[in-house]
Amino acid sequence: MTAARTNPASYLYEPPGPRGRRNIRIGSTVSVLALLGVLALGLWQFGSHGQLDADKWLPFTEWAIWEYLLVGLGGTLLAAAIVAVLGSLFGIVLALGRLSRVRVVRWLSAGYIEVARTVPVLLLIYLMLFGLPQLGINFPTLWKLVIPLAVANAAVFAEIVRAGILSLPKGQSEAALSLGLRPHQAMRLVVLPQALRNVTPSLVSQLVSLLKDTSLGYIVAYTELLYRGQVLSAFNHLLIQTFLVVTLIYLVVNGSLSALAFRLQKPGRKRMPIAQPVPTLAATLPHAEYPLTHREDHPAAAGHAASDPAASDPAASDSATAPTPKDRRA
């Protein structure tokens, strides 16, 4: 039964017996009737005001209208992409700042994150739209939308990235440091890549929220989906139909993103790079002499073999595997 998989709380009840099944059937019937009733009521309400007439919906079978709205969707996606790039870059910087060893940097980053998370984006947009022009500072329309969104989303991204860094086992950075990497190298090469990979589902979910936020372009008159819907409805006077279609487009786009986030979240999706299996003794032995030619450019293996002649097998397997990545690179 799929319910067990889709509904983690299904252990709330045992597999129903005869009476349970009857109750579930009754409950299903009642809830289907109730839902259909609500739906019918809504449709009747719409129908009685002529909102279901064919001539109100027929315009939406024309490609021109869809094209008009899809251009808006393009604007939405463009703004979302810019905000995602700016926000995530700035967010990573902020996350690192919040974990910095320098106290001032830590405080500044924390202060920024707290402020940006607790101020409505609309307030920032009004500031960009009406406030700053009074001071002679003006931006193109796209940036009036993108800057406030990036300011706000950077803080959210920062918190996600920070959670990812903190949730990584400490051994990772300790191992990197003990290998002789500098702290910034350990962060850049070891900690951050793994942390980012672990928080990918949260980042994609945040992308959904960000894409929703670009609907604020409606206020700054930036050509995005909701704004196009508004212009279209002012033109064709089909308010309900237009905004329902716009809502549907948002639902499809964000729904696919959400589904992606859900898929990424599923356990067992992690494909850790699998270490190359160590060749078996039998596989290495026939090539035991062959790698000798490579030993000149492999001083570690040569020294190892020379200092410990008894352990010729591991040395051979060492040098036998060594050429493989080299060959692949060549």
């Binding site: 409950g27 299903s28 609309l122 307030l123 009074q134």
Partner: protein, 214 residues
């Protein structure tokens, strides 16, 4: 500061609207969200599917689109309520989806043993949900619910876009008259931060009170 004090009465009135919207929508969304969660974990497949669709719909559609739909479009279908109540209803049903997601993750944290024990004691499904599962689920997700409530308080600002005169809208109007953007918007930002801080502190207090020590 002068401008803020000069317009204090108007601004306080607007702040009152913001707070009222946040409180009413907050309580409403908590109740509705828990109901949606109950439907989400019920043994009736239709209800589960309906609750799933509900949360997915509201999590994937922008609040602003819903507000515009409800305020400007639905009157064409004869569904006309005063402006502020409409905004509050939209906020409530929108945030209820987030509440439902949070509470559902709380339900998943309730130990299987708890549920088995309640079944063994002979509680019906409704009883075990009402008396055992939901209380523990809510206690486990105080912090996430606090975050949802903070987001709700921030989202009341969007009502300004459809014409509700709340804090953001009023601040913008005051600024258009006095042209002191830095001072005025900073003041408003501080007020919103104070609201978020208050919710955060309240959340922390509630969490300490109800946390389950295992």
């Amino acid at each position: 500061m002068d401008i803020l004090i000069e317009n204090l009465e108007l601004l306080l009135q607007a702040l009152g609207t913001t707070l009222m919207m946040a409180v009413v929508a907050g309580i409403g969304s908590l109740i509705l969200g828990v109901l949606v969660t109950v439907a989400r974990v019920s043994p009736i497949p239709v209800l589960r599917a309906a609750a799933f669709c509900y949360t997915q719909f509201f999590i994937n559609v922008p609040l602003l689109a819903l507000l515009i739909l409800a305020v400007f479009a639905l009157p064409d279908a004869g569904l006309l309520l005063p402006l502020t109540p409409t905004a509050i209803i939209v906020l409530t049903v929108y945030e209820a989806a987030y509440v439902a997601e949070a509470v559902r993750s709380g339900v998943n944290t309730v130990g299987v043993g708890q549920i088995e024990a309640s079944r063994a004691l002979g509680l019906s499904l409704g009883q075990s949900l009402r008396l055992v599962v939901i209380p523990q689920a809510l206690r486990a997700v105080v912090q996430p619910l606090g975050n949802v409530m903070i987001a709700l308080a921030m989202n009341t600002a969007l009502a300004a876009a459809v014409g509700v005169v709340e804090l953001t809208s009023r601040v913008n109007k005051v600024n258009l008259v006095h042209a002191q953007p830095i001072e005025i918007f900073t003041g408003a930002g501080l007020v919103y931060m104070a609201i978020a801080l208050a919710i955060g502190l309240a959340t922390g207090w509630v969490e300490r009170k109800v946390a389950i020590v295992r």
